[in-house]
Amino acid sequence: DAGVTQSPTHLIKTRGQQVTLRCSPISGHKSVSWYQQVLGQGPQFIFQYYEKEERGRGNFPDRFSARQFPNYSSELNVNALLLGDSALYLCASSLLGLQSEQYFGPGTRLTVT
């Protein structure tokens, strides 16, 4: 069975541009969460979606937005990119929207120049 998949693997953008990252959860999982991991730190929660509804939002500016589609895949959008947005963006899926193990994808490495 396929695990969580993310695309693209790597991305280089310029300050001020916009980026869209994609995630496909494990088959049967209905919850998707997004995390940002800056080098040398642990992942930081950005969003959680369950059954296409936002269930949680971390301490990130409104430049960050996300959505979940009927097939439970998800997109993370970041507008007006800043140098500080350079990070590994991780997507995690879980069966339910409540406390449970989350399974992470390999991440998208975003570099903003």
Binding site: V4, Y35, G42, R55, A92, L98, Q99, E101, P106
Partner: protein, 113 residues
């Protein structure tokens, strides 16, 4: 403020010996805890979890201990193997926060042959 802390950035252990990784938390609302292992260029891999109603959970070579009064948890790996060399993250969640995980900063474990 860091609600989940891993105070040891790195740990070196001889193959076959016990590895003990520690994690402290400050938020008394946390009631579910997880450990993840991360290799370079991969997403975090779920290892083991524990609910606050337990003080110990065991899965093969991995055991997690939870001391609620001290707000401390630890991961024991016995016996340690070179393939265990990775960065280990502890994470915590609260029942009223859905699937949002708060991560520590990670501990790099090196198991020497």
């Amino acid at each position: 403020d860091q609600q989940v802390k891993q105070n040891s950035p790195s740990l070196s252990v001889q193959e076959g010996r016990i590895s003990i990784l520690n994690c402290d938390y400050t938020n008394s609302m946390f009631d579910y805890f997880l450990w993840y292992k991360k290799y370079p260029a991969e997403g975090p891999t779920f290892l083991i979890s524990i609910s606050s109603i337990k003080d110990k959970n065991e899965d093969g070579r991995f055991t997690v201990f939870l001391n609620k009064s001290a707000k401390h948890l630890s991961l024991h790996i016995v016996p340690s193997q070179p393939g265990d060399s990775a960065v280990y993250f502890c994470a915590a969640s609260a029942i009223n926060a859905g699937n949002m995980l708060t991560f520590g900063g990670g501990t790099r474990l090196m198991v020497k042959p």
